[in-house]
Amino acid sequence: MNWKQWLFGRRELTLALACVAVAAFFQFLSPYFLTADNLTTILRNSVELLLVSLGITFVLATAGIDIAVGGALGICAIFVGWSVQGGWPLPVVVLIGPLIGTGLGLVSATLIVQGKIPPIIATLGLFGVYRAAIFLLLGGSWISGLPDTLGPVVNPTIAGIPLTAIYILFFYFLGWVVIRWVPLGIAIRATGGNERAARLSGISVGGTKFFVYGFTGLLVGFAAFLYVARYRNVETSTGGLIALDAIVASVLGGTSVLGGKANLLGTMFGVLLVRLLQNGFVLIGVPSLWEQVITGALLIGVLILDAWAERRSPNYTRWLATR
């Protein structure tokens, strides 16, 4: 193994290096970048994205896509907000987001599996429906000034680690167990790698898809819960661009949009890199309106780099020969 393979062979390592390089770059331009305050802000801003990206990584691994997650997050947040406003019992408040999220995820799965609609069409259509639903539910006004009933569930720390971080690590651990140690993980990768072959070898392709979209919905619902717990308001734009961010983070992390591959640790670093970049550009004085452009360009850039790297690998020549 030469040094190039060692450095670039592991996606997580490459990404960690990229994060360091990006951090150094912004620190050079803005001395505020590497302060404890700003790093905390970056981590705080990553909370929802970490959860949603984990789900998207699973969806992409089955060669699917879900661009309705932003709308679903908004809807879940509204219900969490209402339950806080209404002073419902704490277990209900905690569970309502994940429950509704899972329900919405299963709606996507039903359309994709039972209706045989391509995932991009089904979730694009649902995105339109969800956005209308958010307007209908909120009636054009925000839910704001919620009481801090959820603080005790998310703010305390255990051994210096915030509870929120523990929740996120728990879900990533769960995801890792599923993808690495449970037959379902093989089913997920097999479905994405070659759906026909997976079906022929007796894997329940439909069931697998129900799981990934449902699980994504669960994570989206929990992300909505954490969102409301921290910001204590819900706007019509809540959840807005998170679908793009999540896809970018997963693809950065080495999960292929063609399916068959999932890299959870990579996704974590991908989220970190996305948020580092978004935060850094604001700090050096680029207006936040550019965020969309930067993220979109990042997605295209990673895809180009990946395609280029693949072309240089021996696998590509073999793949070309089979065409």
């Binding site: 069409i121 649902l126 339109g128 429906v129 209308a132 639903a133 309106l289 360009a297 295209i300 895809l303």
Partner: protein, 316 residues
């Protein structure tokens, strides 16, 4: 696609349209005036141009889809408006803007055909990049104050039919329809869409055809931006919002298969007219436009579902 299937498809759309018209007849009689007829056509041009491009992209198959059309409409509209503000003659500015749109579309096509990237992920990336650029470059504010003489294309009508319908939508539609149905190139497009491997084996320039489809989609989107500029005498950075959802829905509702290779432009245009009359009617009934978004999302899912059901019911 069999003719029986096409007929069911088309009559389904017709039934939807008739239901909408009946509702409007009862609730908003003003819908059936000549002025409203003109305004429906006026509204339809943007969507019609974009949808013709979208249909072509989807027809060429390979997972073809163009989610970035709305961004191209906004960006080229802004480019044309700023050129005119800088003193460029309107004709030159228009041509430059259309070329610009073609370049934006070619970027999609290049990434998809040369680097073999997935169309949906590439155009999702450019969707955000183009829309974001339109917002970021203007700070969200429109470029307004274009000279009134520039409004000729967008505002005037002859025989109650807007000039841009006469001079852009109708001729472009007819030329594209003729090309698709009567020329070898049209056959190639269907061949590339229905069986890529076979098309490659008989030596069709698959990649060139797809690249061309994305470029043309960009050109048509830029023309839509030009019409919008001329109509409003200003360029809005968000004028193309939701056009990707609308054009995709119109294409699929019009009977083009999402997998490429079957369908056509006539259905797409019919669906566009259906949408715009629905839009105009709902506006008269004071229905919030956000409802239309939800409705369109349901149409998108519903039309693909219907496809499945009809196909399954068809004897093999």
């Amino acid at each position: 696609m069999t003719t029986a299937f096409k007929q069911i498809r088309f009559s389904g759309l017709l039934v939807l349209w008739l239901i909408a018209l009946m509702v409007f007849a009862v609730r908003a009689p003003a819908f059936f005036t000549l002025a409203n007829f003109t305004s429906v056509l006026q509204f339809s041009t943007l969507l019609a141009l974009v949808t013709l491009g979208q249909t072509l992209v989807i027809l060429t198959g390979g997972g073809g889809i163009d989610l970035s059309v709305g961004g191209i409409v906004s960006l080229s509209g802004l480019a044309i408006a700023s050129l005119i503000k800088a003193g460029t003659p309107a004709l030159v500015a228009g041509i430059a803007g259309v070329v610009f749109g073609g370049i934006l579309g070619s970027i999609n096509g290049f990434l998809i055909t040369r680097l073999r990237l997935l169309p949906l992920i590439v155009t999702l990336g450019t969707y955000y990049a183009y829309n974001g650029l339109a917002l970021a470059l203007t700070g969200g504010a429109p470029i307004s104050g274009l000279p009134a003489s520039f409004g000729l294309l967008g505002q005037d009508a002859v025989l109650a039919i807007p000039l841009h319908t006469w001079f852009l939508v109708a001729p472009i539609f007819l030329v594209m329809l003729f090309t698709l149905n009567q020329t070898p190139l049209g056959r190639w497009i269907y061949a590339v869409g229905s069986n890529e491997k076979a098309a490659r084996l008989v030596g069709l320039p698959v990649d060139a055809i797809r690249l061309g489809a994305y470029a043309l989609s960009g050109v048509l989107a830029a023309l839509a931006g030009l019409v919008a500029d001329s109509w409003l005498l200003s360029a809005r950075p968000n004028i193309g919002d939701n056009l990707e959802l609308l054009s995709l829905t119109a294409t699929l509702l019009g009977g083009t298969s999402i997998f490429g290779g079957s369908g056509g432009l006539a259905g797409s245009l019919a669906a566009v007219l259906f949408f715009t009359s629905l839009q105009a009617g709902l506006q008269m009934l004071n229905v919030n436009s956000i409802w239309q978004l939800g409705l369109v999302g349901m149409f998108l899912i519903g039309s693909v579902l219907m496809d499945r059901i009809i196909r399954n019911a068809e004897p093999k």
